[in-house]
């Protein structure tokens, strides 16, 4: 039985750490840690003790990652931070034309597999993958993806051109996945020497079904832990599932009120289930829930809206791409953070929800870890 669940909540103004026992009925919190930094993602690494790693950015001071012992979170920054690469020329021209922000960010930080206890990966904006072999003290760019032949065609989305998803195969040391807005998903099967775009079946912006090329705006990519090869993605144009490690994708958004959303979470006990928060379609130019907050759960019979305990009226909340997470307990805990400062938690795989924080700074990320 797990001792506790830690929910790392990254906000525009620092990091908050929430803790609960395995029942997840009451929560306590500390923070803000790393005051002044925007925490696009944070996680607890349980491979060697319990260490918190945070991906931090500042419009003024650039990027860094920070690490601390969970028991005494005194954070220390990397001595050699991940420094994001530049936007490719075509993407920079596009960003200038549409006033898209190009501030550098560390967008995501991910511990590698258990057999590599000192190895971490970080994803940045503009898109770059970085690897640390000393627990986050120093970072080095992964040139094979950062200089990928397709990079010249990668474009920024409204949030910048970010590498936001990093998924490590826990068994096969040569396989991992990344996803970039707006380029698409990539997979390596040779330990990072080469990367293959894996977007077949996903729609591009023009509505065309894609083949082996890049050019789709994946918002979040997750590997299901229980079924090898099963993956989900929330894309700009819908939710997709793959059963072949990402080689091909099938749209599963039939029944959702909107194709559009950012965040994604899973139920480790049910390989048919993913959770999304559909947001108002972008033609309205505001990306929020349409006056009613619902977390949708996929299943064999389609989607069901989960609303018990969630705001039911006049709820115009935004959930960003790191704004959803799940724990690994049974039943699964599911967590959603909103741009307006609320954090919602479900301890029964989405059936009912409780607001565990109401007035945080804008929430950029939530990440649950069983410790």
């Amino acid at each position: 039985m797990a001792d506790k669940v830690v929910l790392s909540v990254g906000t525009k103004r620092g990091l908050f750490l929430f803790e609960s026992g395995a029942k997840r009925d009451t929560w306590t919190s500390t923070g803000p840690h790393l005051k002044g930094w925007s925490i696009y993602h944070a996680t607890v690494d349980t491979r060697k003790g319990a260490r918190v790693h945070a991906a931090a950015s500042s419009d003024t001071f650039g990027t860094n990652t920070f690490s601390a012992d969970l028991r005494k979170p005194k954070f220390v920054g990397a001595k050699k931070p991940p420094v994001p690469p530049k936007l490719p020329p075509k993407g920079l021209k596009f960003a200038k034309k549409y006033s898209i922000p190009v501030h550098p960010r560390v967008w995501h930080i991910e511990p590698s597999r258990a057999s590599e206890p000192g190895v971490l990966y970080a994803g940045t904006a503009p898109a770059g993958l970085f690897r640390s072999e000393d627990g986050g003290k120093t970072w080095r760019g992964v040139d094979s993806i950062n200089n990928h032949p397709t990079r010249k065609d990668w474009m920024p989305g409204a949030g910048g051109m970010c590498l936001h998803s990093i998924q490590v195969d826990p068994v096969n040391p040569d396989r991992m996945w990344i996803a970039i807005s707006a380029a698409g998903s990539f997979r390596t099967t040779d330990g990072g020497k080469s990367w293959k775009p894996i977007n077949r079946g996903v729609k591009s912006f023009t509505g065309a079904v894609m083949g082996s090329e890049t050019g789709t705006c994946v918002h979040k990519l997750l590997r299901h832990p229980a079924v090898p090869g099963r993956m989900f993605q929330q894309n700009h144009v819908g939710v997709y599932r793959s059963d072949d490690y990402g080689d091909t994708w099938t749209g599963i958004n039939q029944g959702l009120p909107s194709d559009f959303g950012f965040g994604l979470a899973l139920d480790p006990q049910d390989s048919d289930a993913c959770f999304v928060v559909p947001l108002q379609p972008e033609q309205y130019t505001w990306r929020a829930t349409p006056g009613r907050f619902a977390v949708y759960r996929s299943g064999r019979k389609g989607w069901t809206a989960k609303t018990s305990g969630l705001p039911g009226k006049d709820a115009y909340l935004s959930v960003l791409r790191e704004g959803m997470s799940n724990d690994t307990l049974d039943p699964a805990g599911v967590y959603v953070g909103a741009g307006s400062g609320q954090v919602f938690a479900s301890r029964d795989a989405g059936r009912s929800w409780k607001e565990i924080a109401s007035y945080l700074p804008p929430v950029l990320s939530v990440n649950a870890t069983v410790v």
Binding site: W37, T60, F61, N64, G77, K80, P81
Partner: protein, 87 residues
């Protein structure tokens, strides 16, 4: 060669390990180079690739905003500020 005190913004405490240190040099630029050598992440946080300060970073010698070639003397205070605006 003079010894001065460099004061950094509080936000950099966890990143570089301190926000107040003794530095040496003939100019403000020399003193900052001394700090960059001792605090490896500091240059990244203060400077663009070109070596110029990032936007919205201001450098003061005592009470005046000062260029990097400003001469310093023993006991001077060099302060780095983040410009703040909005409302």
């Amino acid at each position: 060669m003079a010894r001065a005190t460099l004061i950094l913004p509080r936000i950099l405490q966890e990143s570089v390990g301190t926000v107040k240190l003794q530095v040496e040099g003939r100019t403000v630029g020399d003193a900052l180079e001394d700090a960059y050598r001792r605090l490896p992440a500091l240059r990244h946080h203060l400077c663009e690739d070109s070596g110029r300060f990032r936007a919205h970073i201001l450098c003061f010698l005592e009470d005046e905003q000062s260029p990097l070639n400003s001469q310093i003397k023993d006991g001077d205070k060099i302060s780095i500020f983040q410009a703040i605006s909005g409302g």
